[in-house]
C-alpha cells in the first residue's frame, strides 16, 4: 500500500497547509463523504473535489463539488 501523508489542518499551520493542498489529496468530510482534490484555487477557503464515496447521497459519487475548509475532517495525500 502506498504511503499516505496526513495533513494537520489545525491551528495556523493548518491554514497554510489547507491553502496549498495538492491535487490528488484525499479528503474526508465531516458528513462522512470522501473525495479527491482535483483543483485548489489557493484562496484559503475552497478546494474542488471529486466524490469517491458519499454515505447520504450515492448519486454524488463521481461528481465534482467545491468544498469549504470547515466541512472537512481530514486530509491525506
Amino acid at each position: 500500500m502506498a504511503e499516505t501523508k496526513g495533513y494537520d489542518l489545525t491551528g495556523k499551520g493548518g491554514i497554510q497547509a489547507w491553502s496549498s493542498l495538492p491535487e490528488g489529496t484525499k479528503l474526508t468530510l465531516l458528513n462522512g463523504a470522501v473525495g479527491e482534490i482535483i483543483a485548489n484555487p489557493h484562496d484559503g477557503g475552497w478546494v474542488l473535489i471529486k466524490f469517491q464515496e458519499h454515505p447520504h447521497d450515492p448519486s454524488k459519487v463521481g461528481q465534482e463539488e467545491y468544498v469549504f475548509f470547515n466541512e472537512v475532517q481530514t486530509a491525506a495525500g
Partner: protein, 462 residues
Amino acid sequence: MVTILRARGDRSIRSFIDYERGTISRELYVHPDIFEQEMEQIFQRCWLFLGHESQIPNPGDFIVSRMGTEEVIVVRDRKDKQIRAFLNSCRHRGMKVCRYDQGNNLVFTCPFHAWTYDTAGKLVGVGYGNHPEAYGDTRPGDQWGLAQVAQFKNFHGSLWATWDPKAPSFEDYLGPFTASLRHCLQSSDGEDGGLEMFTPFQRHRLPTNWKVPGFTSVTDGTHAAMTHRSAAAAGLHEDRGQGKAKPGTPFPREMYAIGDHNLGHGGQCTFYNQPGVPDYTDEWFEPGVDDYFRETAGRKAQLYANRVLAPHGWGGGHFAIFPCVMVDSWRIRWYHPHETGMVERWTLCGVDKNAPKHVKNAVRHYVQRYNGPTGFFESDDMENWNYVYPASRGVRARKLDYFFANGLGHGKYDDRLPGVVVNGAYTEEAQRARFSRWLAFMEAKSWDDLYPVNTSKNHRIW
C-alpha cells in the same frame, strides 16, 4: 425623462442647449443631478468598450474593466472558453469580489462570507452552505450567480457590452461606423482582428467631468496647434522617426469633421476617394521596422486593390464611438466617469500580433513616448482638461455657456456615409452630434425612443 435642475430654476434639460446660438450651459458639466442621470440614461444603455481579447487568451484569464462608475470582471471561462462580463459585486451583500486588475482564476471567491463563483459566473460554493445549522433549504441556487451584462460582443477582437437587453445589435449601434471600427482593428496588412494589445491598461485619473475630455475634447481639431506646441518645441512632434518621413505619391483623400447626430459617433475622419491605400513612407528610427511595415503595406495594397478604405482617423484625426470611446488605427482611448468632477482615462495600444519581436518593441516604445504616464503628448492635454473643471464650476462661472458654434449651419450630408453630417475639418460638428445624441438619451424613456434612429425619428438638434 426630463430632469429639473433646481440650481437654475425649473428648466428642462433641453433648455440648457441653445441650438441657434450653438451654446451649451456649463451646468451640464458640473451639476451632480445631471451626472446621476447620465449614469442611468447613457451608461446603463449604451454599448461600452471593455478591453481586447488578446488580454485574456487562456481559459481562466480575466481582466477587471469598468462600465461607467462600476467595475466588471471580463473572464474567459475554463470550460467553454467563451468570454463573459460580470458586475464585480458579490450577490450576497455587495462586496467587491475580485480585487486584482488581471490574472488567471479557477474561481472568484468573495473575501467576506466566501460565496464563490466559477469563471462562467455561476455560484458554486457558499461558506457554511452544507453546515447543519446554516442555510439548509434556503441555500441560494443558480439565480444567485454574478450579475451578467445583458449583451456582449466580440467585434474583431474588441470586447463590448451593454446592460440594456433592448439595445440594438452592436453593428446597428455603430451604423455607418462599423466599417471604420473594423478597419482600425486590422493589422497593418489588412487582416481582420490582426492586433494584440500591450498590457496592462494605461490609466490616468483626472479631476474633471467626463465630458470635458470624453465629449468636448475628443476629436477636437483646433486644440493641437496650441496645446501641443510645447511638444513641438521640444522636437517631439515628429512621430516616429524625426524628419525621416519622405512624402509619398499624393493619394486622393480629404479630412473632415463629421458627426452622426442620430447615433452620436463622429470625429475628424479621412475619406478616401479611390480604391487602394496610400504609399508607405519610412518613418521609424529602429532598424528593420520600416522593412516590416513596407512589406505588410504591400500586402494590404493588394487586398485593397479594388476596395476603398473606410473613413477613419488619419494625420492626427480620430473618431469616437458614443459615448466616449476614441478610436485610431493604433490605439483605443476611453473614459470611465467616477463622479461629477472625476474621470479615469484608459488607453490600449495595439500592434500586429504576428509582428516580429523587434517590431513589437519599437511600437511599444513609441506608444510609451506618446501616451501614458511616461508619454509627452497627453500630459499637455490633461493640463487643460484638469483646469477646465474648477474654472467652470464656480457659482459665477457656471452661469456662462460653452461655445460650440464653430461651423454651425455649414454641415452637409454625404452619400459616402449615409446619415452623417460632414463639415470642415476644424469645426465642432462631431461635438454637436454627440450632444444631439446625448439629449436623445437623456430624454428617452427606453431604447424604443432611441432606435431605429434614422427612420422614424431625427434627433439632430442643430
